[in-house]
Amino acid sequence: MDLSLKVWRQASTNEEGEFKTYQAKNVSPEASFLEMLDEVNEDLNAAGEDPIAFEHDCREGICGACGVMINGNPHGPQSGTATCQLHMRKFEDGDSITIEPWRATAFPVLKDLIVDRSPFDRIMEAGGYISVNTGAAPDANIIPIPKWAAEASMDAASCIGCAACVAACPNSAGNLFTAAKTQHLSLLPQGQPERYLRAAAMVETMEQYFGSCRNYGECEKACPKNISIDFIAMMNKDYVRAQFKNMERLGQK
């Protein structure tokens, strides 16, 4: 198939960007979206033009490195699918495709389609862990965990940190990511001792970078791992309770 691509090109964070149009010829329907871009880049290289920079790594939908806006949808038209798992058979011959980086103030463009998602790491550093030093653990079977709890925790923990949720949100909120991360641990017995400290620390760090959640639900729709916005509700509940539960914070400004 032959396609017309309108691609955002931006040399660096501080330079102005613009759309440029490229033709992708003889694209195999078996190719993945990123393999299609590889071919375009081979042509650009041969023509002496700078190839399109885009982030990608595992190409099996688990590392979360890839992700672009495809015709205005994060990761493109197929639901529950990261960009690398999207195949060209989902497009028609002659289609025109617009490809943009994630658009969010928290994620400056580094080059072309690559953005800086490090605020997610700052949220994790604020409390996205259980404080257990190496060697300090009891036997793994000492705490029975209900199967449903382990499964629900796993549903949250499936988040790949791609940031499609932020890109999809009209407010560029980071709530779905943060909720997935807090609730992965809050649903487990091991996560209880730090549950409310964690919720407060992570939510407050999140708010330093991202917009507010208005329950649009766009994030859930865009999520390649189909993570439910129910986790946002659970996180909000934890956050409210944190204001009362975190005793050392009571009565302080």
């Binding site: 982030e55 790594d57 604020a126 190496t134």
Partner: protein
């Protein structure tokens, strides 16, 4: 021309502790000098890589109080390719009450490695495996559980017990997130200084010791020097030398190759694992291959049509015209034979013209009988995400038509030679995880990579590193103003600019694909002396063309992905040759290394324990000379050498 090490002055000392194997690790921990807690903050440690091994090591060092600097070329530690491991992690907990023990895990791993690993290291691995399960559970890894709330297990290739812990088909993801979270905690605590989008391009050596690294910032292109008392490489394997592999696109061998060129010995480079259950390539533009977890072999049955050239759709072939060849050839282990055995059997089926699929390049993995036995919901619960992934890639529904699979390069057992302390032959330079060679011999068993990465990072290196550090108490790290750093940094900048200066006509991928084709053809599933000689001369030719005709657009002082790849492929073009030299030297078949000249009458690998019961550690002798071979002879005191049989 292979040179023997008779004249070499360097004696390979694996530093294996004295005494019975069960007591060695405890004894060694006791006799290794400790660094007092107040002194730990006087030491600087550099860790390269944030996969399972690197993140777990850096976090553990931070907890102990060392000053740690950790570097990753990713945007976040969570992207490391450990994340893609699907099936699980082994440990000898014996929760299923099916006869497992530390000794059995040790035994299976040595046997599975086809008797080319070091017994003492493997025993220690089996010993600490249980602690890994405890540690990661405490971190909040949502492992699969029984209804009673206790941990569930499943079985994997090469074992007759169920010892594999798992989190759906995303065990690597969950374990990596656990290690990343532990690391994030230390970054927040200030014990670990974290650098993302930073690629290590050189190890700096002074007076024979590793004293630091040269790093290129992948966004600004800035090249900087960093010094420390020790450097730890946790940089993964080199399967991408084959171009098409299950590894992530950025996985590369550059860090270990740079270390090799600085004097670290490279052991068993030819020991590569071709994983039997990957989705076959769909066309010639494919950029990578996707693994389908080995756990699928628990419930899937592998078959091809009995008649060569049968092109009927799978569901039109009646059961009596299907050859469930693994069950036929290996009745005791059936579909759960080790990876090397399963891969070679699949290769034979294709050689007999019994391949399936549009390109006739696969075999079937069929869940029909498991769905009949357990019902579709159970299969969905076990493998749902894998089935979805398969459908997205192939547009076929594996609940209705069998999956098509074929072997693909997946893991490299070879790596930097390390002693029992995980130190390379360069004092102060350590290698952990897939980057070293130590535990898997000639073939790695499924669910053992996660085990080894975390064993090295959480439970081995934090103990052994003190033995080296004690001698450097109150000795500051070498200054980055020292000439060794200035020169190394200049050399890195020079090479980076050299790629841009070639100004030829072909892209990096062009050469990488060429190299991959040569490697899979001659140094893949089956190898021969003639083929390997051909490969060596073709690799040299590709290398010459690369340096004459490469085109990298752009500059070195900006984000330049082609430039990053050029450096990695330049190193692969050298590493590939060493792999072929090693494969040529090893005149036997063992594990993943199959020499056509050395097979039994029924086509199984024929080992030669009299002449080749050693690890081949290669020393770089300069680009004009052949590498020098050093042998670490392997002793098998606890697992008697025998012909592996899975029949």
């Amino acid at each position: 021309m292979v040179t023997e090490s008779e004249s070499s002055t360097y004696a390979l000392d694996a530093k294996i502790p004295e005494g019975p194997i069960q007591d060695q690790w405890d004894q060694h921990k006791f006799s290794t000098p400790l660094v007092n807690p107040a002194n730990k903050r006087k030491y600087e440690i550099i860790v390269i890589g944030t996969g399972l091994a690197g993140a777990s090591a850096a976090a553990s060092f931070g907890e102990l109080g060392y000053n740690v600097k950790v570097f990753t070329y990713h945007d976040s530690p969570r992207r490391a390719h450990s994340i893609a491991a699907q099936g699980g992690i082994n440990a000898a907990k014996n929760y299923p009450n099916d006869g497992d023990s530390i000794f059995r895990l040790f035994y299976d791993t040595v046997k599975g490695g086809d008797y080319r690993s070091r017994e003492s290291n493997v025993y220690r691995l089996a010993q600490v495996a249980n602690e890994i399960i405890d540690q990661t559970t405490a971190q909040g890894i949502p492992y699969a559980r029984e209804y009673g709330g206790l941990l569930d297990n499943r079985s994997f290739g090469g074992a007759q017990v169920s010892r594999t812990f798992y989190a759906r088909g995303q065990t690597g993801q969950q374990l990596l997130l656990g290690a990343y979270q532990a690391l994030a905690r230390q970054i927040d605590a200030g014990t670990v200084e974290y650098y993302n989008r930073s690629e290590m391009l050189e190890v700096v050596i002074k007076d024979g010791h590793a004293v630091g690294v040269i790093i290129r910032d992948l966004v600004s292109g800035e090249v900087t020097s960093h010094s420390a008392h020790v450097v730890v490489l946790a940089t993964g394997g080199y399967s991408n030398v084959f171009f098409l592999s299950t590894n992530a696109m950025a996985c590369n061998g550059s860090a270990v190759w740079r270390a090799y060129r600085k004097g670290a010995f490279f052991a068993n480079p030819a020991f590569t694992q071709i994983h039997p259950t990957c989705i076959p390539a769909a066309d010639e533009h494919q950029s990578k291959l996707t693994l389908m977890s080995e756990s699928l072999r628990n419930d899937g049955r592998i078959w091809v049509p009995t008649t060569p050239g049968d092109t009927r759709p799978a569901n039109d072939i009646p059961d009596e015209e299907r050859d469930y060849y693994l069950e036929r050839m290996y009745p005791a282990f059936g579909n759960l034979v080790p990876r090397d055995v399963a891969s070679r059997a699949a290769m034979r089926m294709l050689d007999e013209d019994r391949g399936v699929g549009p390109l006739r390049n696969g075999v079937y993995l069929d869940f029909k009988s498991a769905i009949g036995r357990l019902g579709q919901p159970k299969i969905e619960e076990r493998y749902g995400n894998l089935f979805e992934m398969y459908e997205r890639i192939t547009d076929e529904n594996p609940y209705e038509v069998p999956m098509r699979i074929y072997p693909a390069p997946h893991y490299t057992m070879g790596g930097l030679w390390v002693d029992y302390n995980l130190m390379t032959t360069i004092p102060g330079l350590y290698a952990i995880g897939e980057a070293n060679f130590s535990d898997h011999g000639a073939n790695r068993l499924g669910a053992s990579a996660l085990m080894q990465g975390l064993a090295d990072g959480y439970f081995v290196l934090p103990y052994t590193i003190g033995g080296y550090l004690v001698d450097y108490l109150n000795v500051p790290p070498v200054s980055t103003d020292d000439p060794v750093f200035v020169e190394a940094q200049a050399a890195v900048e020079e090479q980076t600019n050299a790629f841009l200066a070639i100004n030829g006509t072909q892209s990096v991928d062009h050469f990488h694909r060429q190299l991959g084709n040569v490697m899979i053809e001659y140094c893949g599933l089956a190898r021969s002396s003639e083929g390997l000689e051909t490969a060596i001369s073709e690799i040299k030719e590709i290398r010459t063309n690369f340096w004459n005709d490469l085109r990298v657009i752009g500059t070195s002082d900006s984000l330049n992905q082609s430039l990053e790849r050029a450096g990695r492929v330049a190193d692969f073009l050298e590493l590939a040759e060493l792999m072929c030299i090693d494969a040529l030297n090893r005149e036997e078949s063992c594990g993943g290394h199959f020499r056509l000249e050395h097979q039994t009458e029924d086509g199984e690998a024929q080992r030669d324990d009299v002449n080749f019961a050693y690890s081949a550690a290669w020393e770089w002798m300069g680009s004009k000379n052949s590498p020098l071979l050093h042998k670490e002879y392997l002793e098998f005191e606890y697992v008697a050498l025998s012909q592996r049989s899975y029949k």
